[in-house]
């Protein structure tokens, strides 16, 4: 029993044919895919952004390990045709593609819809084929270069044996590798793109035959941000691996004072905590529906090269630098944060940040000309904790002494 139980627990339960939706939803930074089985009756999306739903019929099973419903696409993957009706609006079937840019945003996708998707994919295919051709040509050029090197080496040997100078012998030129395609676009697929103002709507799929597809009814909630702001990731040099994040514009950054700070600003927006969690993962079990709970979600990079630092009446500008964690030599454990330079070599993991050294009791950092981006940095005296307890006992000793004195006097 005890041996069999875990094995049984990992087995998917009975499959059930369902009308489901694959969602391509905007998460405030990029697009991500979500799966919406029939038991998820409410679909959460950001208001005033384009999102995509792909109605499908598939076999759904319960996967106990992750405690969620999954689709068995291999057994059945049928995309349904028709029009999605959301409230009093209708959204016809179109096509969409996801565009993945390289660099920082490699993990974040942008959305192309309709003709733009087709054109984007064709451009990508053309670039990919051109790149493939360049790679083939590069392979030939490398082969030719290697042959030239052999001949060049033989010629050098011959000249050296003959006692002739080799300086005038031209060196074979190494071919340059073609630049990789930094952007990829997925093949256009059918889906329903829609953009909704904030609100709650009834949603259903009307099939090509004019009938509502059974099991396609859902409620769709479009929600918007309550406010926007600037978040700061704050790393103390002494605890580089334990960064703290300030998302609330009213936050105070309390620091020890004997360590440098590395600050990274980013854009953020504040959303309903439950709606945003369900948007990112519709089968999220660890979130509770609570009114009045809000969550800040990152909404992209802040392209600021400088931040303002105000200390007392003086103001300075701090430029962004590139840093890396350098392991301390010898047997001493730990690392130090140092500016990145060529001497660090390649393959070093770096990060861009603003270095601030809080020396006075209070300082203010802010992004130039950005309202609501100011944060106060306070240097605190961490060794004064025991004194607080002594202070807290003052009313007891003072009050009891006074009461005792008064009683003694009246007696």
């Amino acid at each position: 029993m005890f041996i069999v139980a875990p094995v049984v627990a990992t087995q998917p339960t009975e499959r059930q044919r369902q009308t489901v939706y694959n969602g391509i939803v905007f998460d405030a930074q990029g697009y991500q895919g979500v799966f919406l089985p029939e038991n998820e009756h409410v679909v959460y999306v950001l208001a005033d952004t384009i999102n995509v739903l792909v109605p499908k019929v598939t076999d759904v099973y319960w996967w106990p390990l992750t405690r969620e419903y999954r689709a068995d696409w291999e057994s059945r993957d049928e995309t349904l045709d028709g029009t999605v009706e959301i409230g009093d609006r209708s959204f016809p079937m179109t096509t969409y593609s996801l565009r993945h840019d390289g660099g920082f945003d490699a993990s974040k996708a942008s959305l192309l819809v309709g003709d733009e998707a087709g054109q984007g994919y064709r451009d990508y295919e053309a670039k990919r084929q051109a790149y493939q051709a360049e790679v083939n040509a590069y392979g030939d050029a490398v082969k030719a270069f290697n042959d030239q090197l052999v001949v060049w080496g033989q010629e050098i040997d011959r000249l050296q044996k003959a006692g002739l100078p080799i300086n005038n012998l031209p060196v074979p030129k190494q071919p340059q590798a073609p630049a990789q395609v930094s952007v990829s676009v997925t093949e256009p697929e059918p889906g329903v793109a829609f953009n909704l103002p904030a609100g709650s709507y009834a949603m259903r799929l009307r099939g090509a035959d004019g009938q509502v597809v059974p099991g396609s009814e859902r409620t769709i909630v479009a929600f918007g941000p309550r406010r926007s702001g600037v978040a700061y990731t704050v790393m103390a040099a002494s605890k580089y691996t334990l960064p703290d994040t300030s998302t609330n514009p009213d936050d105070l950054i309390l620091v020890r004072g004997d360590t440098d700070l590395y600050i990274q600003p980013s854009a953020e927006r504040e959303y309903d905590a439950y709606a945003s969690a369900k948007m990112l993962n519709p089968q999220q079990h660890s979130v509770q529906d609570r009114r009045g709970r809000w969550a800040w979600l990152p909404s992209g990079r802040v392209t600021a090269a400088e931040i303002d630092l105000r200390v007392g009446t003086g103001a300075t500008v701090v430029s962004q630098g590139t840093y890396y964690a350098k392991q301390r030599p010898g047997s001493a454990l730990g690392f130090e944060i140092v500016p990145y330079g060529p001497e660090a070599g390649t393959g070093v993991s770096t990060f861009a940040a603003f270095q601030v050294r809080p020396v006075q009791a209070e300082a203010f950092v802010s992004l130039p000309s950005t309202a609501g981006s100011t944060r106060e940095i306070r240097v605190v005296r961490t060794g004064s904790g025991n004194l607080l307890f002594a202070l807290a006992l003052l009313p007891l000793f003072g009050g009891i002494s006074w009461v005792a004195f008064r009683r003694w006097k009246t007696r």
Binding site: D250, R378, L388
Partner: protein, 297 residues
Amino acid sequence: MDSPAITDLAVRAVSHSDSAAQPREHLRIAGILLLARREVGSVVRGPGIYVILTLASLVAAVVVRSYLDFIAGSGTLVLADPLGSPLLFAVLTITGYLGLVAAAGLAGERERGTLEVLFYGPVDAASFVTGKLVGYLCVYVLMAAALVGFMMLTAALTGIPLGGRTLLVLAASLLTAGSMIALGLLLGALTGRSRVALALTGLVIAFFAAIEVGNRVAGSQPADSLLGSAAGLLAMASEFIGWVSPFSYLWRAQDSLALGQTIDVLVALIGTVVYGLVSAGLAILVLRRRGIQKWRE
């Protein structure tokens, strides 16, 4: 609170009532002020206020100390209004204490029969409840002032600033204290014995706190866990408690103040005032209905 003091107060009130030149309302106000002064004197002369003030300061000190230890270890700590939470915990300790004292005080006076003596003067149920309410509110102001002093010293010692918003919440807490005292008076009027009043008020406060804390803890648990699955029930209870707990009005005012929602702050504060008035009104009504005489076995 002792009988001679009550008799003295009744005599003074009667002598006021004998003075034909004094209009009746004037006498009532004088009676209220006398009662208020008596309550302040009674509390300030006892050790309880100093014990509770120390307890409230210790609660605040423990929270601040945990911040300092975290900063010492990690280098940074990000908090909005860092002294707000310690001060709020301290304020709630004091408010709860005054609710208990108000309930036990009212029930105790009936229990000892001093209430009846007092009512021979120009004191009726309304002026008695108002006098007690004003008196305990004055005690709260004294305690809050002492607490502010402690927090200012804490700010000076640690370098953690005492924000203006924290002081605004503290000012708003006067209304919460008024509501809690009025609730205590109501519970005291409902019960005939001080021990029962004390136990009942303590239970009510503990219930408010348990639902509020339970809701916050359960809300952060996975929905498929035992506590998480109870979250829905606790949330419903919390919605209800949000209307009957004076503390909830203060939470709402604090949250709204943090978000700069002035109207919501005003709504919460007006709600607190209405709550206090309704509780005090009910206490007066109960006192009139059930009488002021010592309950017989």
